[in-house]
Amino acid sequence: MVEDFAVQGIDIIRRFGGFSALDTVQIAVPTGEIRGLIGPNGAGKSTLIDVLSGRADDWSGRVLFHGRDIGGLSVQERRSLGLARSFQRTNIFPDLGVGEQLEIAARKAEIRNVDEVAAELGLRDLIGARAADIGYGDQRRLDLALALIGRPKVLLLDEPAAGLSMGESLTLARLLKDLAARWKVTVLLVEHDMDVVFSICDRITVLHLGKVLAEGTAEEIRSIPEVVKAYLGSAA
């Protein structure tokens, strides 16, 4: 039986001048899986997310979404297919109200699940607040909420726990795992917090210097000496 991959990157190459940010990267995330994408700074994780989500220009290779080549599609077209993303830096509408921006996102989505998303992400009490006035952790959850409106099929998350406390990170991780299971969302998660990655990811891909260094379950990844040396260190 042929495995159904929600999102695939095939032979992805992206160069900045003489520097290879991504060098023939192969990644295939089966439907329903939470895939961790880890690696040291500069490994190419965010660049790969940018290529998959349509943010990047000047790259080569193929990007497939449930088998369909979406490499030539715009960001908006990918989103309408069900490919959503969050950003490394909080990417919200600071001067708009929390509820207002969720409504704006919902107007574009097929499933207008504002209340559902607000409730799941603990934003209900902040609906009337201006986004710039809420706490950083709340802003990170709002960023995630904007990606989750419409129940996307694939969610690309670029360090969603960045800047959060350890407790907040683990709460977010549990929430992600729960939502992914209930809403049948495939997740590709870039994260430096290994507690988050090891606690929720079904499999993990390790990038190093723009290449895939290893791929496997948390246990397998922990046992690969090159990965431990290149990235994990004491976290293993």
């Binding site: 908006q76 509408f93 708009l96 704006i104 107007r107 574009k108 904007l146």
Partner: protein, 324 residues
């Protein structure tokens, strides 16, 4: 009946229309009414520049182009007798709007200062054309117009006598502000505000961002064109001054003085600017210097402009009242 924001805005519209209509009853001076009319027309132009700043977050140095194109469309149509005045007026609104939309599809992609410089360049190109194409435009001298007795069944004098011209300009300004208020509160208005705040995020939640920004640019051009139509109906004279960047600059100063983030701000700024200019013009020939100093003071002390300061004062007053 519950006072919803929409009902409140509508009641405010009715009250503003009534108040404006009463002004000529109490003001006999033609000079004051002339100043008020000119201020109202400038307020319409400033509102056009202001809505662009408010919804798209960009500064235009070239909105005089749309004001002037409207003036020249009517002027040339009448001068060369190629169409009825009414048709010319409609075209005077359609041409700048369509031109701005098409231009907007290209230039709204360009951020910040580069956008402003492009608007300046486009505006000045039209100004240069008006200066150089003397056989068509009359060059720097411009030309006067002879309107028919009636336009759209209304006596032309209605648009030209200070007392009635004020009423026309005021109605136009107030109705325009009301419609813009409704637009800002509409899904389209919220979307364009979101794009202004974070265009990338808007794209990643699935929105096309260029067309909405181009539409706002076209809307702002339409408002500038409305100001141009009011101007030429009132003055019956057109010259390259109507296309000159100084007019765009003045409209921008009105926005900044009044407060660009408040819908009423540019109109408020226009009234203040106009009367300040008139008063200072009586005192000194260096009135531009006084306006420059005022602009610096307002920018430093009231970064949200007079409108923003009034809103803050109102909020403080309400908070004080609530606190007993």
């Amino acid at each position: 009946m519950k006072l919803t924001p929409n009902l409140a805005a509508f009641l405010l519209l009715v009250a503003a229309l009534a108040a404006g209509g009463l002004v000529p009853v109490f003001v006999a001076s033609a000079l004051v009414m002339t100043l008020l009319t000119q201020a109202a027309i400038s307020a319409v132009l400033a509102t056009g520049v202001g809505i662009l700043l408010r919804q798209n977050g960009v500064v235009s140095f070239g909105h005089a182009a749309y004001f002037g194109i409207a003036c020249y469309t009517i002027g040339l149509a009448l001068r060369h007798k190629v169409m009825a005045t009414e048709t010319a007026i409609i075209l005077a609104l359609v041409i700048p709007t369509a031109l701005a939309f098409l231009l907007g599809l290209v230039i709204v992609r360009i951020p910040g200062v580069a956008f402003s410089m492009l608007t300046l360049a486009v505006g000045q190109a039209f100004h240069e054309f008006a200066l150089k194409a003397r056989p068509i435009t009359g060059g720097e001298d411009g030309f006067t117009l002879a309107f028919p007795r009636e336009i759209f069944g209304i006596a032309t004098a209605t648009f030209q006598r200070p007392h009635s011209a004020w009423v026309v300009s005021w109605i136009m300004l107030v109705v325009l502000l009301y419609l813009l208020h409704r637009m800002i509160k509409s899904p389209f208005g919220r979307l364009t505000a979101a794009i202004r705040e974070n265009e990338e995020r808007a794209r990643f939640i699935g929105y096309e961002t260029v067309v909405p920004r181009a539409l706002i640019y076209a809307l702002s051009a339409l408002i500038a064109a409305i100001a141009g139509v009011l101007f030429i109906l009132y003055n019956a004279f057109v010259s390259p001054e109507t296309l000159f960047w100084v007019l765009s600059g003045e409209a921008l100063i009105m926005c900044i003085v009044g407060g660009p983030r408040l819908l009423l701000g540019p109109a408020l700024g226009a009234v203040v600017f106009f009367f300040f200019k008139d008063v200072m013009g009586d005192i000194t020939v260096h009135w531009q210097g006084a306006i420059g100093i005022t602009l610096i003071v307002v920018t430093v002390l009231l970064p949200q402009g007079l409108g923003g300061a009034l809103v803050k004062l109102g909020a403080r007053w309400r908070a004080g009242g609530a606190g007993g």
